[in-house]
Symmetry: C2
Subunit: 204 residues, 2 copies
DNA sequence: TATTTGTTGACCGATTCGGTCGATGGTTGT
DNA sequence: ACAACCATCGACCGAATCGGTCAACAAATA
């Protein structure tokens, strides 16, 4: 473990990314250490040299992700905009900041939340409800909904945005790094379009 | 192969579903025949008895899916509504009709389109561009965009709807059969909300 | 040069892979 | 009643792959 942490930052990131990708795509059991090593362009032996066992590697990734979630993403929690769409934009922007460095962060997290392999299920239990509470409080706490037109059903808007965000996020890993910013702008354009058409005129 | 086709309809569906699920979730190589058999509650031997080889099973599924795509889904192609949102609703409704019987149809198709295993890549090439052309023509052909408010950027709307539809579809397989209709209604509600706020007043 | 450190490919036993096959038990025709 | 048939399964096959180890080589440090 300390073998890995004493690596140069970007080599760490490369390896982490490969591991996040392979685990995220295949789940714990079907992800093989060889696949991860190949993806990271190192030998299988090195993975064991760095992390000890496959399980240790997986749990390191879980721990790393939870630290990212509590760190950069919650640091803005206090002064989150009360405006719904503004918050949506800030949130995705922050999220994309992470995804730019770790494109498979999200896929791994999703896969992890539905992971059921007995070899790691115990250790995951702790992190799971943690991520759940985080997600919900983050989204709606202290939100100002008063700017919406009165005939707009907020429940519907909320669900719609969840779908949108999911569809959007799901395709992030397909974008090349240089196109990512444009892709994010496209999302913001959509958010703006909604704001413009769903808010009362006096708030535009 | 004829062994399988002479099975009662619903047993065929059960097995097909299990195969679509396992292949869709794991890709061709990592999907194991044992997993499929377990999911379908039959013995591994039966899978081989029905389909011959793993490859034959996979290609059967591909062929089956392409037939579904050319059959039920294109039968409405001629009299598709020219109204954008109306078409969106009709399309998802049809799509859901399929997904009610084959919940993993979509996941399998997505996975298939990015399948790269050399053992099947040749045979897939044919189906791939087929699915691509289908998707695009289906979506936009002969559409009436004149009802939108003039300051609405259509490109943005289109992209947004793609994200929405993807996020929505992605969660269909999580819904229980009895809740599926409600879930579809939620999507239609969202479509209605958009239509109501993005169309010129005279078209409401 | 001597020594440590990073890295690898060959290798281990165990498991799982796709696929086969003989045994079993139910169904059908006679 | 028997025989012919056929669906179904569990045991089994050789080959591949699994997680993990280790001796040996290369590079850097001293």
């Amino acid at each position: 473990m300390e073998n890995f942490l004493s690596l140069p930052e970007d080599k760490q990131r490369t390896i982490r990314n490969s591991a996040l990708k392979v685990f995220g795509e295949n789940g714990y059991k079907k992800a093989s250490v060889k696949d991860i090593a190949d993806e990271a362009d190192i030998s299988k032996s090195m993975v064991f040299h760095y992390f000890g066992t496959k399980k240790d590697l997986y749990l390191y990734l879980v721990d790393y992700c939870s630290k990212v979630l509590t760190g950069p993403l919650t640091s803005i929690q206090k002064d989150l905009p009360r405006d719904y769409f503004e918050r949506m934009k800030v949130a995705t922007e922050k999220q994309m900041g992470v995804l730019k460095d770790e494109p498979f962060f999200l896929k791994f997290l999703t896969s992890m939340l539905s992971e059921s392999d007995p070899e790691i299920s115990e250790e995951l239990q702790t992190y799971r409800n943690y991520a759940a509470t985080f997600q919900s409080s983050y989204a709606l706490d202290d939100m100002d909904f008063s700017k919406f037109k009165e005939d707009v059903d907020l429940k519907v808007v909320l669900r719609m945005m969840v779908w949108m965000a999911e569809g959007f996020s799901r395709n992030v890993s397909l974008e090349s790094e240089e196109d990512l910013d444009k892709y994010i702008d496209q999302f913001n354009e959509a958010v703006e379009l909604l704001r413009f058409n769903l808010y009362k005129e006096e708030y535009l």
